[in-house]
């Protein structure tokens, strides 16, 4: 097997968390290498450059790796899950294709056991992470508006995205209902920011931003980390983490761009592969010393998978709205976020208000929801849908359950022959009640806004790609995989910084918190360099 020169720190995965931890550790002047299985993305390759921009959301920029099927992707057996897995494999990872919605977790999200008697408290709290949230906001570049009474104080460096016709319509309805709303925080630049151009409203941001206005880590953290000396090697797919006779991580075996098997030795290994990729890698790293997978003495590697069920409720108004001419992000509501004892479920959700879609996507949505017929009435009905759509997403907190898990598929493998992940996942009764509550509130809002032809899409098509909880953090080695600063209980030079270390999921998009946690773990490592393995 071909070998490489030893590095101080080996990071696996270059997405949201891998980029943040690489940048933060760069100041130590350690030799840092990141292995990424995908490619660098080129803005000229993003769909909005071409007339087929909508169709490509269902092909090479599809959020499901199973359908996208790039040679840099690995398959995921998600047959036994109503919610499907979404991810992206390339420099920047999921930030290349996320919507750039940027809520933080709330303080109560870290104290769900103490406050609400459910699940477990985190070993860190909001206030320990606050300065890392702020640092990350500066690094990613956040647009928003201070003063929101629904969330703790924060100070986005850029003004919010315009309300537009659609946001104004929502706001009028919310004010009549007396319910909270606020312009969403996003990582879409509304002014020039650190070399990024301002948003020019080229449409839904998910399939990459040709303008470069959306913050993905390939254009935020990585240029700075590389300039500071970090090496990023693409097309390197890691098969397993190796360990030495002392049970310490010794490096990783990976396949390079030519399919050649290589060994990369390292003093410290950091996993940043997301809540599915990380448990897959740990389970694929089983050995005589770690027969159940690496760092898995608790038996919790892969368990407690949380996916954020995310119903979307839509309706149509008579007046023309923004359609697809602008970011999908618009406003949010925290009205139903915190636990309310009068409801029949614990915890809560964010309402996320979206704009419309492009012409082809509207036709697909209309047909699949039964609102758009085929035949001679198609054109008349279609004109009443296109650019008239309102839609509200219900971002439900998904509490941890051990039977929701990632294991290794006994048959399915990626193109290098590495066993693929298998997902077993069900939606809990608490979450189902939460979903129905949110759907009912969304229908009230849309009705108040004058919308008709309401349609609720509960889960199957709304997989948000939030992959959380499968290597949870905690102080008890029997009940967690990593400690309160991200180090594996079982392997003292192995760290995890991605969404898998989450204890609970909150009811928000996770990237802001994933990165704040990665910066927090990096800070803890820097403070403990002399005693890191004690």
């Amino acid at each position: 097997m071909a070998g490489n020169e030893k590095v101080d720190v080996l990071i696996i995965g270059s997405g949201a968390s891998g980029a943040a931890v690489a940048w933060s550790l760069a100041e130590t002047k350690m030799r840092i290498l990141c292995l990424e299985q995908g490619d660098w993305m080129k803005p000229t390759d993003f769909p909005s450059n071409g007339r087929d921009w909508e169709a490509r959301r269902y092909t090479d920029f599809e959020i499901s790796p199973n359908r996208r099927g790039r040679d840099t992707d690995y398959p995921v057996n998600d047959d036994n899950s109503l919610m499907k897995i979404a991810n992206f494999n390339g420099v920047g990872g999921g930030t290349v294709i996320y919507t750039a919605h940027w809520p933080r977790m709330h303080p109560s999200d870290f104290r769900v056991k103490s406050l609400d008697g459910v699940a477990d408290d985190w070993p860190v709290d909001y206030w320990a992470l606050e300065k890392f949230y702020d640092e990350n906001d500066r690094m990613m570049g956040v647009s928003g508006l201070a003063g929101d009474p629904g969330v703790p104080p924060r100070h986005p460096p850029m003004p919010p995205i315009g309300l537009g016709r659609t946001g104004t319509r929502y706001a009028q309805a919310m004010n009549r209902l007396g319910w909270h709303w606020w312009p969403s925080d996003t990582t879409i630049a509304t002014t020039e920011y650190e070399g990024r151009a301002a948003c020019i409203n080229i449409g839904h941001c998910t399939p990459g931003c040709a303008q470069g206005a959306k913050a993905s880590t390939d254009i935020t953290y990585w240029p700075l980390a590389i300039r500071a000396g970090v090496e990023l090697r693409t097309r390197c797919r890691v098969r397993e983490i190796t360990t030495d006779e002392h049970g310490m991580a010794s490096g990783a075996i990976y396949y390079d761009a030519d399919g050649v098997e290589r060994f990369q030795p390292a003093e410290v290994v950091i996993l940043a592969c997301n809540g599915v990729g990380t448990p897959r890698l740990l389970l694929n790293s089983a050995s005589a010393k770690f027969p159940d997978g690496l760092a898995n003495s608790s038996g919790l590697v892969g368990r407690n998978l949380m996916l954020h069920p995310w119903p979307i409720v839509s309706g149509y108004v008579e007046e023309g709205m923004d359609g697809g001419r602008g970011p999908i992000n618009c406003i949010w509501s925290k009205q139903f976020y915190e636990t309310d004892p009068s409801r029949d479920f614990m915890r809560g959700y964010t309402l996320q208000f979206g704009r419309g879609t492009g012409p082809a996507t509207q036709a697909v949505i209309g047909a699949t929801s039964g609102l758009l017929p085929w035949g001679r009435d198609h054109h008349r009905q279609y004109r009443q849908l296109l650019d008239h759509r309102l839609s509200i997403g219900v971002a439900c907190e998904d509490l941890p359950e051990e039977h929701n898990r990632v294991t290794l598929d006994s048959v399915l493998k990626d193109s290098n022959g590495i066993p693929a992940p298998k997902i077993d996942y069900t939606i809990s009764e608490n979450t189902r009640r939460m979903m129905e509550h949110g759907i009912a509130r969304a229908e009230e809002i849309l009705t108040e806004a004058g919308a008709t032809r309401l349609y609720a899409s509960r889960t199957a098509l709304n997989y948000p790609g939030h992959l959380l909880g499968t290597a949870r953090m905690g102080t008890d080695p029997d009940r967690s995989v990593v400690n309160e600063w991200g180090r594996a209980h079982d392997v003292k030079n192995l760290f995890i910084v991605d969404g898998s270390i989450w204890v609970t999921s909150g009811g928000v998009n996770p990237t802001s918190t994933i990165q704040a946690l990665a910066l927090y773990v990096a800070d803890q490592m820097k403070k403990r360099l002399a005693t890191l393995f004690d």
């Binding site: 087929d52 921009w53 169709a55 092909t59 009474p149 020019i200 040709a210 012409p359 082809a360 001679r376």
Partner: protein, 158 residues
């Protein structure tokens, strides 16, 4: 996963696809909308099948079976009723067929212009998004913070 991207429909399959496409999205001369069987659009559909080709073949076979092999012989009402009925329960093949037809149809210049849209890619020109009415936020600004502060001990507890 990706299948044989180099495969293509046969001429007979394209003929059948054209009949179905014309039924699903027919020409509307009054509004200037071509049908989805317009030669340029049908050619775009046929070239865009890619990874959906197996599903499209399943869809063509399902429609043929449902019509007893006589889809073309049905009158317009019969064809539309059959397609709408099949689409509602047709699963992945139906969704794929609808998606590839409208994916090509709603990027055709004539269609977009008839809908009042510009016939161009979003980038680099972009679009204008109105600021909207920010005065609506005034009432929200007046609310007291209502997020739960975990540092605050509830009254009666210490």
């Amino acid at each position: 996963m990706v299948t044989d991207l180099d495969a293509r429909l046969t001429a007979a399959e394209i003929l059948a696809l054209g009949r179905i496409a014309a039924t699903m999205v027919p020409e509307d001369a009054v509004s200037g909308m071509p049908g989805a069987d317009d030669p340029a659009i049908l050619d775009d559909i046929a070239r865009s099948l890619g990874r959906d080709l197996p599903l499209i073949r399943e869809a063509l076979a399902a429609v043929a079976a449902k019509s007893g092999g006589a889809f073309a012989a049905l009158d317009r009402d019969g064809r539309e009723a059959l397609i709408n009925d099949w689409y509602a329960g047709g699963g992945a093949p139906a969704v794929a067929l609808g998606r590839v037809i409208v994916g090509a149809y709603y990027r055709d210049d004539r269609v977009l212009l008839a809908l009042g849209h510009e016939a161009r890619a979003p980038f680099p020109k972009g679009y204008v998004l109105e600021q909207g009415d920010w005065s609506l936020l005034d009432v929200v600004r007046g609310r007291q913070p209502f997020w739960r502060d975990d540092r605050v001990v509830p009254a009666g507890e210490s």
